[in-house]
Symmetry: C2
């Protein structure tokens, strides 16, 4: 047991040190820190150096998911519910078009080439989901979480998660022969109800409970209350088949307009600095570089990747056209990364035997490229608009 | 995998929520928060409610040890090397007497009763080690880390860890028939050299490296540098058979007199609020209440526990007699808790077949009682001396 704990501690050190080292170097050459952390994961993961042989070990999966939860709670704390309400309809349209258009692009491409209908449907589904962690982190690093674009992207991501869940449920049951409409309907109703209930009721509860908790103990357990609610909502979200990070985001939202929010943001930011790298490094470890060697798939992979980018860019950009040309592009790009979410869908298809391992490799390529490409593009798009928040400007006034 | 991660997340929520809930209630009835967290562990652990069935799962062991590392880094940040140097000799005497006296009390008791010499030696060894985490946490909660008493206790704990390791090495090899003096000697030299080297050289390195790191990137990676060094020294400490937390403490010490230390302390404190409870809750989960039911052992357990308390109180108090009556008692009490360290020694003896399961139960009782009894007593001793730092005083000026 002692030797085991030393081995784990050594891996934790390797992950954290590699992430921070590459992030600092990346900052120097103006590459987003999150890309550096993912690259750190590819480097020390089983693919290259092999310092961490198995990214699916329980302790690492746990640290990574706590990292993601902490990140999204932090991001939620930076959103205002009133702002979200104002852009709610637009976010709904952005999310809906961002689901429908990529789905049919993926479906259509595989129908035109020699693939089965089920494979076509699964690829469509894998092209639907957005990995909001990447974009949220980039916007956070750029200090742009309070912009209208960020609010739309994050709200759309919540809706996207619900729609993605719906698509996945339909697709999974289709491939098994029969669609259970009652179950799919109830899962959706629960997800929507949870989101609305949390935001509306949670906020009032926190507003009433907060002062009492502060009064109750001298040690000011308000930050602890925030973390308890964050972890609690993450668990509930996961139990009703949503992503845990959506629960964490909603928890952040619930506290975001309280008096104590600035203190909480500062404290959460310290926790983030420590734990979030584990999420992105682990994401990197899951990236399988060997798929690029399968040359016979590269053409299809390239086309799927292009359509995946185009689908979100056009779909989400169209939904946000009222923001003007630049805002619409920012929203579109922000919704592009598929991260681990696309992979999960493809993995389900692979396990069900409905997609080939070749097509699975295609989805991996698409996920990797969209994930690694988005941060630099997003950075360029935002730095041009808000030069005040560029690293160089910060540097002038340390 | 999805279901597994939901189960883990649920347990993380249960641990954190129970710890914070009981801590807040405990504060109301003036019980130290750390006791509440341990009790939370007993409650939700396998002994009582069984919400967490196995406290030895990798992910939980990992979270707990990160919690302990974070705590001791935080504690180290609050110590001044110059203050430690000033009390160095006294700490050495406190540690030495605190090792010698409990050892011979335990050894003597078992020699007088009907036990083998090996068992007597093992019990002596189990009575030697101090679990500095408990005392450090109580002093932190009481805002008393900057007192002379705290500095002596923490310095003595580092020396104690080296001496304890030495005792354990001798005892283990004794029970296997032959003492390998060369190995024991080299391990000790390495430990002492690591401690001195880290403190003296590490400080200079940080002083030189620090400003360069701050200059290198706009994102101010100083906190990250602190965490990297903290994790790195923890790994090294563990690799050379010391406790990881001693490495973390030394890392804190290295940064404690830098200009940036106050910021770092604040950030670490936020991280602590989140992660430290996992350490103490897990400690509680390991407490096996059923040992109290073994009535035939209760007399021996009571005597061993009394001698364990007396040994540290007299040994360490004697070493600190120059602080006056009250200071000496504070130091003595602060060194009493055995925590998990005594258990590890006893477990080695049990696995080697050199101590009976009955005697193992005795050590468990001794560890539990010393661990749970110390915080309230320490609190009383400190609150009387420094009424300004009592919770009530804090409460008057929130």
């Amino acid at each position: 047991m002692e030797a085991q704990s030393a081995r784990i501690l050594l891996q934790i050190f390797a992950i954290f040190a590699a992430a921070k080292l590459l992030a600092v170097v990346a900052e120097r050459v103006r590459v987003p820190a999150v890309v550096a952390e993912i690259v750190a994961g590819i480097m020390i993961g089983p693919q290259v150096l092999g310092w961490v042989k198995n990214p699916q070990q329980d302790w690492l999966v746990t640290l990574a998911s706590i990292g993601a939860i902490v990140l999204l709670f932090d991001v939620g704390l930076n959103q205002k519910l009133s702002s979200i309400m104002r852009v709610g309809m637009m976010a709904l349209v952005v999310a809906a078009l961002g689901v429908v258009i990529p789905f049919f692009l993926g479906y259509g491409l595989l129908q035109l080439t020699e693939h089965s209908q089920t494979e076509a449907i699964f690829l469509g589904a894998a092209m639907v989901a957005t990995s909001v962690g990447i974009t949220a982190r980039v916007l956070q690093d750029l200090n742009a979480l309070r912009t209208v674009v960020a609010t739309i992207i994050l709200s759309a991501a919540v809706i996207d998660d619900i729609l993605g869940m719906l698509v996945l449920a339909v697709v999974s049951s289709l491939s098994q022969g029969r669609v259970n409409y009652a179950e799919i309907g109830s899962v959706t109703v629960v997800a929507v109800a949870f989101t609305i209930f949390t935001v509306l009721v949670g906020r009032r509860v926190v507003r009433r409970l907060g002062p009492r908790v502060v009064e109750f103990a001298a040690s000011n357990p308000y930050f602890a209350l925030g973390l308890v609610i964050c972890l609690g909502l993450s668990v509930v979200a996961e139990l009703i088949r949503m992503a845990a990070i959506i629960g964490a985001f909603l928890a952040g939202l619930v506290f975001s307009e309280e008096e104590i929010a600035p203190t909480m943001r500062e404290k959460m930011h310290s926790v983030s600095e420590f734990l979030v790298p584990f999420f992105f490094v682990t994401m990197g470890m899951h990236m399988d570089l060997s798929v690029f060697a399968q040359t016979q798939m590269l053409l299809l992979a390239t086309m799927v990747t292009l359509l995946a980018i185009l689908g979100k860019l056009v779909g989400c950009g169209l939904g946000a056209y009222r923001l003007g040309w630049r805002g619409a592009v920012q929203v579109g790009v922000g919704m592009v990364p598929r991260g681990e979410v696309g992979l999960i869908v493809a993995l389900i298809g692979l396990n069900l035997g409905t997609i080939s391992s070749g097509l699975y490799a295609v989805v991996i390529v698409m996920s990797m490229v969209t994930t690694l490409l988005t941060p630099p593009v997003l950075k360029l798009l935002f730095v041009r608009v808000t030069p005040g928040s560029s690293p160089d400007a910060d540097r002038a006034n340390p």
